[in-house]
């Protein structure tokens, strides 16, 4: 049985932070769960989807985060408990609904988990989602470890119902994606029948009375958080330095204080309820020390809010020295980690400590270099995006008008780097490539003579590009939209979407046909297989010449990782060593120097290319681009 649905109270299991959140929701009796996938949040709904049938849940991958929040909210409106999860960018999409939902309030418990990606490791941006809690006067919880991730989720449902407000949980990568021990509680048996009280409509209009009600709810939240067990203090009564922290900062602070052997000198106040803050608890701990350090990931959210409380009470609290992102003691971008936390405490406390020899990092890098292949961030072997960008590169060069490729969110965002031959020139939000193309596509009236191309993945298309395509046709924008249809939300882990014919729980679903949609939106639509590079180049050139309104080229080829799961290799590929021109005039290592599929290796001693059979997926595209026909593909 999956550990997430074991009904053995008191049992300790190893769970990923996101699984712990999912378990917390199950223990709270959640019924409806919806999300749009996005790292580091994807496993929350992914995990629940796997147990949906057994647990009697509705779990769905919605087309975007706003719809996902609306789906979960509807459950709440009908008296059930609803869970919605997303990454930080997703909250921007959902925020329009959220900032009306705060005014209408909700009924059944409604929890919105936002997993932030500090440092933007798998995101287009770095963003602190917590500001939305402040913006919407909504309660915000931040788990610091796995047990708390589970317990906070259950607690969030409870206070959501108490207050009649959606509650936000903010996770971060190192909480969501790390694993730890979680002690299970009971799974409830509930069979509450949903119903919407039609005599109690939910509307934010008129805004003023609803805004007043929201403030009343918020004041009640302030009282609740004062007594929260998620806010704990560890340290001496009168520490020399008081650390205010939350989320991942808790573990790092503990480790740093122990490493510096400063347990008697440094106190740590870990806050789990970061909005609203427990004002009395905060004031009380500000009083205990003259030096205050803030440790948190991304923005100085806790830092500034505590400072607000301090400003309000400064006459009684007296002078304090504050350290954190504002003072420069803590980096104001990127993730926290034990070392930068340790350095911050060390420099404030003037403690000398060398955790490891100063040249350790350099030596570790050196040692690793021998073991790790020199491979840049790029597309997988056999990825259709590589051949798509290759074709774009060739077509734009031949076209000769310096075409602009407007990018979008997905694996193909790598098109901005060497793996996509640097073809992509803009990268913003979901669907923004097509939206920007709507604008660029009007600039020919002012003399812009560069062709305009937008790239967009299939999942991204359903998420946010469809309105832009409607806009394009309606307003007569002139551009070429490339739909990179790899039949997957590949970047986030192959979640199904409206084009895949499958739901989150593995049930059959109608396929929303990309070509048909684009045709309905008035576009001329062509379909090619990007593995046929020359045909793709030809079609691209043809579509670039035809400058009448919006044209769509669907580049249809399944994601190589997905194909590997259910399909044998297409070709056996090998390099004829006699024909390979290597570095000589006529080739100069086109395949390993520029095309750079990881399935190709450069044999330095022989001066020839080789196939890495362990990695090659047998797509055969390299055989097509080899100028000497030295790479041969044989149908399997």
């Amino acid at each position: 049985m999956k550990s997430i649905i074991q009904n053995i109270p008191g049992k300790t299991v190893l769970l990923m932070g996101n699984e712990a959140i999912a378990r917390g929701a199950l223990e709270a009796g959640v019924k409806v769960c919806a999300a749009y996938p996005g790292n580091p949040s994807s496993e929350i709904i992914g995990t629940l989807a796997q147990v949906a049938d057994e647990m009697g849940l509705h779990v769905e991958w919605s087309v975007n985060e706003k719809v996902a929040l609306e789906v979960a909210a509807a459950a709440s409106f009908a008296g059930l408990r609803g869970l919605c999860a997303m990454k930080q960018n997703g909250l921007n999409v959902a925020s329009d609904f959220l900032l009306n939902l705060n005014l209408t309030g909700c009924r059944g418990g409604l929890v919105l988990v936002v997993a932030d990606d500090p440092a933007g490791v798998s995101s287009s941006n770095e963003e602190d989602s917590r500001i939305f809690a402040k913006l919407g006067d909504l309660p915000l919880l931040e788990p610091a470890h796995f047990q708390e991730a589970k317990e906070m989720t259950t607690f969030a449902f409870e206070i959501s119902e108490q207050l009649g407000l959606p509650v936000l949980i903010r996770s971060v990568t190192r909480v969501s994606h790390a694993r730890g021990n979680v002690c299970l509680d009971e799974l409830p048996q509930s069979s509450h029948r949903p119903g919407f009280e039609t005599n109690r409509p939910l509307t934010a209009f008129p805004a003023l009375p609803h805004h007043k009600i929201l403030h009343e709810k918020f004041n009640r939240a302030k009282q609740i958080v004062e007594a929260s067990p998620f806010n704990i203090y560890r340290g001496p009564e009168k520490p020399e330095l008081m650390v205010f922290t939350c989320g991942s900062g808790w573990m790092y602070s503990l480790e740093a204080v122990i490493s510096l052997n400063a347990q008697d000198r440094v106190g740590i106040l870990k806050l789990g309820t970061t909005w609203p803050l427990p004002e009395n608890l905060v004031t009380q701990h500000l009083r205990q020390a003259d030096r205050i350090l803030f440790l948190e990931e991304v923005d100085p959210f806790l830092e500034n809010n505590v400072k607000e409380i301090y400003a309000q009470n400064c006459l009684t609290l007296g002078l304090k020295a504050f350290f954190g992102k504002t003072s420069g003691h803590v980096p104001d971008i990127g993730e926290l980690h034990p070392e930068n936390v340790l350095r911050a405490i060390q420099s404030i406390m003037n403690i000398s400590y060398e955790p490891r020899p100063s040249d350790y990092a350099a030596r570790a890098r050196e040692a690793a270099a021998e073991l790790i292949p020199d491979r840049a961030l790029g597309f997988c072997a056999g990825c259709p995006h590589r051949s798509t960008y290759w074709a774009i590169k060739v077509a734009l060069a031949l076209d000769g008008r310096d075409g602009i490729v407007l990018g979008d969110i997905g694996c193909y965002s790598l098109g901005i780097g060497p793996s996509g031959f640097g073809q992509m020139k803009t990268l913003h939000a979901m669907g923004s490539g097509t939206g920007l193309a709507c604008g660029f596509g009007q600039l020919n009236h002012f003399g812009l003579n560069q062709p305009v191309i937008a790239v967009c993945g299939d999942s991204t298309f359903y998420h946010a590009a469809m309105p832009a395509l409607a806009n394009a046709h309606y307003n007569g924008a002139n551009f070429l939209l490339l739909l990179l249809d790899n039949s997957a939300t590949a970047m986030t882990g192959f979640q199904p979407h409206p084009g895949t014919g499958e739901t989150a729980t593995g049930k059959e679903a109608p396929v929303i046909d990309l070509k048909a949609i684009c045709e309905v939106f008035g576009a001329r639509v062509e379909v090619v297989d990007p593995f046929d590079v020359e045909a793709t180049v030809k079609t691209l050139l043809n579509l670039l010449q035809d400058e009448k309104g919006v044209r769509v080229l669907i580049l249809k080829r399944e994601c190589a990782l997905l194909s590997a799961k259910h399909q044998r290799r297409l070709f056996r590929v090998e390099v004829d060593q006699k024909r390979c021109l290597g570095e000589t005039c006529g080739c100069n290592r086109l395949c390993t120097r520029l095309f750079k599929c990881p399935g190709l290796m450069w044999d330095k001693s022989a001066g020839k290319a080789r196939i890495d059979e362990a990695i090659c997926t047998g797509c055969g595209v390299c055989a097509e681009i080899c100028p000497a026909s030295a790479i041969r593909k044989e149908k399997i």
Binding site: K393, V394, A397, L398, G400, T584, C585, C587, L590
Partner: protein, 383 residues
């Protein structure tokens, strides 16, 4: 004599990077096709040669074969004729005649006398060659190289569109069986590129050593494909263009046969489309060919033929004997006029090169003595 090459990062570069800087960026590409189909980095598209990616090699065939990269003209001539470049008027000459094809089939599409098509066809009959590399134009007048094997294909290549095309791309690309003897018809830039291929010391990987016959075409200039096509389409509307011909001076009108009408466009309207590459070209008569063929001004239906090599002389003799072509002496006036026109092109090229930063920076190197001779002998020639 001194040598000038671009220095990149302290190293002498005679590769694609240098070709890009010296030729493509300066708009000196003649679109001859010599650099194409040799590697994956260069491709032609609608009358342009396009660089797709950077190549890091310091020396490459693209640079070595290009008719617009640094070269010693003496060295090229020594490689082809065994002697330095001396004959400044129309290049090395064994005989200058006028000629025309006898079989009317060669006149139908021919620009003038049909001699080029007839000679290539005859070279096939005589088993002198087994393949020809010629230049047909597709429906949109874009010239492309093609390997031809028979009369039907040869005839498709007759006529001119005043646009240069990457003929040598087809030569480089093949496919070749590996034994066939090859004849090529090319513009002066293409003939020069062939000569450079022949004398290059780089590993060739092309069948240049099996080229047994080079027929050169006279050329004053070629037009940039894209703007020329837009002008043509603007003037003739949607009609498909059947033939282009420029009438001799002083009239100088481009006659366009399209639909069932003849459109007349003053050549002066086309001058801005002349490729910059042609403005620095010293060669009107394809001086490195076996035989060069052009028009005879004022003699409709006749070609001027310059025989330069024993191969060329032998072919023409046999063609005459077999009744393929008929020849006459080129009247003295016409000969003088031909030489003047050729010298005038050289003079203009030298002036253009001078305006581009001085003769010492030119792609082609000539001795001071030769430059002086060209300038003094071309003095007073009227256009």
């Amino acid at each position: 004599m001194f040598s000038r090459q671009i220095e990149i990062g302290g190293k002498v570069s005679k590769g694609l990077k240098a070709l890009e800087e010296k030729v493509f960026n300066e708009n000196f590409c003649a679109v001859c096709g010599a650099c194409l189909s040799l590697c994956p980095y260069l491709r032609s598209w609608k009358g342009r040669v396009v660089k797709l990616d950077d190549c890091t090699l310091e020396e490459g065939r693209c640079f070595a074969y290009c008719p617009r990269t640094e070269m010693e003209l003496d060295e090229v001539h020594r490689g082809i004729f065994g002697k330095n470049y001396e004959e400044i008027e129309v290049g090395p000459v064994r005989k200058i005649l006028m000629a025309r094809a006898k079989d009317p089939i060669f006149h139908q599409k021919a620009q003038t006398g049909g001699v080029v098509s007839a000679l290539i066809d005859f070279a096939f009959q005589e088993k002198m060659i087994e393949a020809g590399v010629l230049t047909p134009r597709n429906g949109d007048l874009l010239p492309q190289g093609q390997i031809v094997k028979n009369r039907k294909e040869i005839l498709r290549c007759a006529g001119s569109s005043y646009v240069s095309g990457p003929t040598l791309e087809a030569f480089n690309r093949g496919p070749w069986k590996g034994e066939e003897r090859i004849g090529i018809v090319g513009l002066p830039c293409q003939v020069l590129a062939m000569a450079r291929m022949k004398i290059s010391k780089l590993d060739k990987k092309t069948p240049i050593d099996r080229v047994v016959l080079v027929i050169g075409l006279f050329c004053t200039w070629a037009l940039d494909y894209k703007p020329f096509m837009s002008l043509l389409h603007e003037r003739v509307g949607g009609h498909s263009i059947k033939k282009l011909n420029i009438t001799p001076p002083p009239e100088r009108i481009l006659e366009v046969t399209a639909g069932n009408k003849l459109y007349r466009i003053p050549v002066d309207d086309l001058r801005s489309f002349i490729r910059p590459s042609c403005r620095v070209c010293l060669d009107m008569t394809a001086e490195l060919a076996d035989i060069s063929v052009g028009t005879v001004e004022g003699k409709e239906g006749w070609n001027t033929v310059i025989i330069r090599t024993a191969v060329g002389e032998d072919l023409l003799k046999r063609a005459q004997r077999e009744g393929i072509v008929e020849t006459r002496l080129l009247p003295e006036d016409h000969l003088r006029h031909l030489k003047q026109a050729s010298l005038l092109k050289k003079r203009r090229a030298l002036e253009a090169i001078d305006g581009k930063g001085g003769i010492e920076k030119a792609y082609v190197r000539l001795s001071t003595d030769l430059i002086q001779r060209i300038l003094s002998e071309s003095k007073g020639i009227k256009t």
